[in-house]
Amino acid sequence: MLSEVLGLTSYPIEVEDLKYTYDGRKYAVDGISFSVREGEVFGMLGRNGAGKTTTIRILSTLLKRSSGSVKVLGMDPSTAGNHIRKRIGVVLQDESFDFTTVEKAFDVYGFIWGVSKSERDKKRESLLSTFELTDVRKKRMWDLSGGQKRRVQVAREFMHDMDLLFLDEPTSGLDPIARRNILNMIKDLTKDGLSVLFTTHNLEEADYLCQRVAIMNNGKILASDTIDALKTGYNGLKTVEVKIGGDQTGAESMFSKVSSGRVEPPFERELPYRIVTENTQETMQEIIKLALADSVQIEWLNVRAVSLEDVFISTIAGGV
């Protein structure tokens, strides 16, 4: 706090009005501004195509921005790429692997980073056990399951030291336990001052791991704040979830008649409709009445507190 007052807070990432276009026509990143503080896990939330990966590619010096200003560890990625790359770690969204065994993959990756042989051996052993890869250490990378490959890819990044880590959907394809292990490991590392930029479309993860998040859609940041502050905007509101059973045909027209709250249709058929409302009693009565009148079959109905997911969905729905 004192350092903030004195203006000593360093921002590992500072982004101002950043834009990027792949084809010269459409902006994949369309004027975003945010900063990441030292030792924090900053979450970028957004659906596929929001522009998260593009942002990471620019910050990790892989792409040159179209416009705007960017500072990574106090340096400009378009001129100081080499200095930045020495101090960052990047877990890409797409798989990346060599055609070797698991243990050799760790060793070769450490070698690329100039880590000494004895240090490589030590780190490899500890990472193999932390990420529960000991059983597959002799296996070849292409014989691993998707989740095991992902675990190697994330674990491998810790073969070297860094000040800033980019994680692009690191938990995609992982089972819940592996997911939780990785999140905990990242949490531990940030205690030692590591700053992390983390992208996900899993809101629970962001809730668990991140101090602050930015919600991105269509290349823009729609909201950016601490998770608590984002939820505060929804104080006093509740979410009514309604799952429609059987034939869904009448559902859309039925929900369009709801007037006691804001309706968010589900992204997927299997998910419930959500109604964010101040008055749950009124909303439930209204829905039951409408369902009877339109002969729409309700499979179940549930009332709960507003979650980060609700904030996310409402923000994005409001943004398009």
């Binding site: 892989l62 790359r85 890409l92 055609f99 070769v108």
Partner: protein, 258 residues
């Protein structure tokens, strides 16, 4: 651009390529050519005139196969760009402390290393059944220069293809087609004679492997003619052109394009 970084990437490239598949490709296949063709054609073909002397078929084939290894090395090394792009390591390495130029240079070093290892092994293998070699210091020099140029030429050629072609099938069929054409439209297995059809001759003379095979052969028997020096010059020019093409296409390779 730091050459130590490229050296480090070269070691990585060699380490990730020391799998049985590569070894079969680099050692076993040419050994089969050498042994089978050497013995089978060796009994059918008598002396072959080379420069001012003449040699038997085994003596003709052995340096040819050593030269042939430059093309094999090129496929392995140039192909790294393709597999690194395809399997995400290109992007991963470029977000590590390496520049694009260092990555490119790492591949060029790799093609040289594989070229020398491959042709070196073939020379050793052929020692086992050759009756006669008389390599002089000058011969060694010629062999080293032409193996270097050949490895660079083919490394750049397959790197250029890897920079252009994305699909697995297209890349594989194209490389197989090219390698067959390059190997057979050259003087690796047989000399060009007055009976060779004109159209084929053109193909032979465009192909740098013809010159590389000729010069390595000249180095082997230490009978160097001015023709060999002209051939070396042509190889040098073709290699520089291919390096330029590879660099141009490599510069256009974008990350994040799958």
């Amino acid at each position: 651009m730091n050459i130590v970084n490229s050296y480090r990437l070269m070691i990585r490239n060699v380490r990730v390529n020391t799998d049985p598949g590569t070894l079969v490709f680099l050692v076993l296949m040419p050994t089969i050519y050498l042994v089978f063709m050497g013995y089978m054609f060796g009994t059918l073909i008598s002396q072959i005139p080379v420069g001012s002397t003449s040699i038997n078929y085994k003596e003709f084939l052995s340096p040819g196969i050593a030269a042939f290894e430059t093309a094999t090395a090129g496929i392995v090394a140039g192909g790294l760009l393709w597999s690194d792009r395809r399997y995400g390591m290109f992007e991963q390495i470029l977000s590590s402390p390496y520049t694009r130029a260092e990555y490119l240079f790492g591949i060029l070093l790799t093609t040289l290393v594989f070229g020398f290892i491959g042709s070196g092994i073939m020379m050793l293998v052929s020692e086992a059944f050759l009756d006669y070699t008389a390599v002089s210091l000058m011969g060694v020099g010629l062999i080293v220069v032409s193996i270097s140029l050949g490895s660079l030429f083919f490394g750049c050629m397959f790197l250029a293809i890897a920079a252009k072609v994305k699909s697995n099938q297209a890349y594989n069929s194209l490389t197989i087609l090219i390698i067959f054409l390059v190997d057979f439209a050259s003087t690796v297995f047989y000399p060009i004679t007055s009976a060779t059809p004109e159209a084929l001759k053109v193909l032979f003379y465009v192909n740098p492997l013809t010159y590389i095979a000729d010069v390595v052969r000249a180095g082997y028997i230490s009978t160097v003619t001015t023709t060999d020096l002209v051939e070396l010059l042509v190889t040098f020019i073709e290699t520089m052109v291919m390096v330029a093409i590879a660099v141009l296409l490599y510069r256009k390779v974008r990350v994040g394009v799958t």
